[in-house]
């Protein structure tokens, strides 16, 4: 599984490009963090990578093929979107939410069968939520919801998941739970593109970091070399320093 954006640009309003010349690639086992200020184009980039938006220039390639030419259902079996958690209108159970991920495997008039239930079972197991299968999604914690949405992507069959701020609204413990699931899955070969507002999460969990600055992927590389006070100042327009903990863990703090 290889997902690659080449020189992508996108404008919602003609002449005002949100993305200009954006390139990144993600392969098996990668956890790529996209860092950037509010309005820097992170969500737009994810939309282009999943095929919701068609880049006006440049191209997104899925295993070498133009993403826009891949039929939607086939695309959905290979890459999945993990949205920010939200309060759903209807109180579906966790199992029902994950089961919806089987939609690209089922015809218009089909209902899910045993194979689909098995896929849900495996997906819930992969994020350690098996015991919550029959619980209403509305009665789960934020961290459990985020993991259920990851499981939905897995049930889709996706080998690459695009996550939009998976740590938003979560306490530190739930954040750690979510990223533990991400790390476990990427060690199994799943790949992740994670839009994040937390440079510290990138230091902890990324194997590659992309800085999106004014719609351009200016700096990218392993977290230890690219997450520096200079790039952080460039990205967020304020001063940071990087401190080192007793066990060698590095952390970003505002200066």
């Amino acid at each position: 599984m290889n997902l690659e954006a080449r020189h992508v640009s996108y404008a919602y309003v003609p002449g005002q490009r949100v993305l200009r010349d954006t390139s990144l690639s993600v392969g098996p086992g990668d956890a790529v963090f996209v860092l950037g200020a509010n309005g820097s184009g992170k969500t737009t980039l994810l939309d282009c990578l999943i095929g919701l938006r068609r880049p006006q220039e440049g191209i997104v390639l899925l295993d070498g093929d133009d993403l826009q030419r891949i039929p939607p259902r086939e695309r959905a079996r290979r890459i999945g979107l993990v949205p920010q958690i939200h309060e759903p209108v209807f109180a579906y159970t966790v199992g029902e939410i994950v089961l919806m991920g089987r939609a690209p495997h089922l015809g218009l008039f089909a209902r899910p069968g045993k194979r689909d239930q098995d896929a849900v079972h495996r997906a819930l197991e992969a994020v350690e939520l098996r015991s919550l299968r029959d619980r209403p999604y509305t009665e789960t914690s934020g961290g459990e919801r985020q993991r259920a949405l990851i499981a939905r992507g897995l049930a889709q069959g996706a080998a690459c998941l695009l996550m939009d701020e998976p740590a938003a609204h979560l306490d530190p413990h739930h954040q750690a739970d979510v990223f533990a699931a991400v790390s476990r899955l990427s060690s199994e070969g799943f790949s992740f593109v994670i839009a994040s507002h937390q440079p510290n999460h990138a230091l902890l969990y990324a194997n590659r970091v992309v800085f999106l600055i004014d719609g351009e992927t200016k700096v990218q590389g392993p977290p230890e070399t690219v997450v520096t006070p200079e790039t952080l100042r460039l990205a967020y327009g304020m001063a940071f320093e990087i401190v080192r903990g007793a066990h060698g863990t590095r952390a970003v703090i505002p200066k």
Binding site: I50, A76, L81, H86, F90, A91, E96, G101, A103, P104
Partner: protein, 333 residues
């Protein structure tokens, strides 16, 4: 949980035929069980008048009641999922306002029962068609469709007012007013053919597509990322739902609340999964209208318009459901 769902299914399987039979049994001529069955199965020992009453009046009326109840409940349930809003009902896209205007025009020009049904049906479709046109021009998001529905409803309500204003206050105006109250007194074999055909097709459509409605109730971007062609699916559901509602309104006039309250009850019983709640909504809707129509025919010396009954029962039912909804969100104690 699974057990109580199983019980619900059995309860409905028992209740639906029971409600249907009761609707045929009760009426102005008293409950005559044996004679009714003799009439139904073509046996001797029953007067021709009573046989005709059962076969040509009560049977088609009960069928119409069941169909209309199922149609309104199923399309209400589908629309609630599609608009991701449990407070939506089948009137959201202006279908009732269009039908009311069409029917009023038919009564104004004395177009007869067939003409009335045809005009009500056509204007119901026209109203929703206009809403969808607005949707197409402005991105077809649920919000645009809802606002379009409000606008087109208001337009047809104004036109309806115009028709009432010019209508003869001694003949056509009371006819319009009475029709708008809703009721099944016009249901005969000659008038319910289209309703039966449309109901059959529409309910089969919603039955086979019901699991997909779950995905439709997610956000547009989630559903699209899952490979669903959401605009196409939405168009299918709106078209099928509109035809079901329009054919019902054309026969029975304005019958509110069924499309709003019944799906809520179904959801409370078997959960929000459309795979289960669509069939339950259909059965429950049919049972409700069959029962209410039986009450409408027999409770008072003259028939009570069905729309009044659904309102009298629907409003308190909705109030209770709405309180529960707020409680589930922690907004009232």
């Amino acid at each position: 949980m699974t057990n109580s769902r199983g019980r619900t299914t059995w309860l409905l399987v028992l209740l639906l035929p029971l409600a249907f039979l009761s609707a045929i049994l009760v009426g102005r001529y008293g409950i005559r069980v044996e004679e009714t069955f003799r009439a139904l199965f073509g046996l001797d020992g029953v007067s021709e008048v009573f046989r005709a009453l059962v076969l040509r009046v009560r049977l088609p009326r009960a069928l119409a009641a069941a169909c209309i109840g199922a149609n309104l409940a199923v399309s209400g349930a589908a629309f609630q999922g599609l608009f991701r809003n449990p407070l939506v009902d089948s009137r959201i896209l202006g279908v009732s306002s269009g039908a009311a205007f069409g029917a009023a025009v038919a009564l104004l020009i004395s177009a007869g029962t067939v003409g009335l049904q045809a005009l009500a049906f056509v204007f119901a479709l026209l109203a929703v068609g206009l809403v969808c046109l607005i949707g197409l021009c402005f991105g077809s998001s649920p919000l645009v469709l809802v606002i379009g529905g409000i606008l087109i409803s208001a337009l047809f309500n104004a036109l309806l007012g115009l028709v009432k204003y010019v209508a003869d206050p001694l003949s056509s105006l009371p006819a319009i007013t009475y029709w708008l109250l809703g009721g099944l007194s016009q249901a005969r074999w000659e008038t319910i053919g289209p309703l039966l055909a449309v109901t059959g097709g529409g309910l089969v459509f919603f039955h086979v597509i019901r699991w997909r409605l779950n995905v439709l109730s997610l956000s547009d971007s989630e559903a699209t990322a899952m490979g669903i062609r959401i605009r196409g699916l939405r168009a299918f559901v709106i078209t099928a739902g509109t035809i079901l509602i329009a054919s019902s309104v054309a026969v029975a006039g304005m019958i509110g609340w069924i499309g709003l309250v019944v799906p809520h009850v179904a959801r409370a019983w078997v959960g929000p999964d459309h795979g289960r709640m669509i069939p339950v909504s259909a059965a429950l809707g049919a049972i409700t209208v069959l029962t209410l129509d039986a009450i409408a025919r027999t409770a008072m010396a003259s028939e009570i318009p069905l729309g009044i009954l659904t309102g009298l029962i629907g409003v308190p039912a909705f109030f209770i459901l709405f309180l529960q909804f707020l409680q589930s969100r922690g907004e009232v104690r």
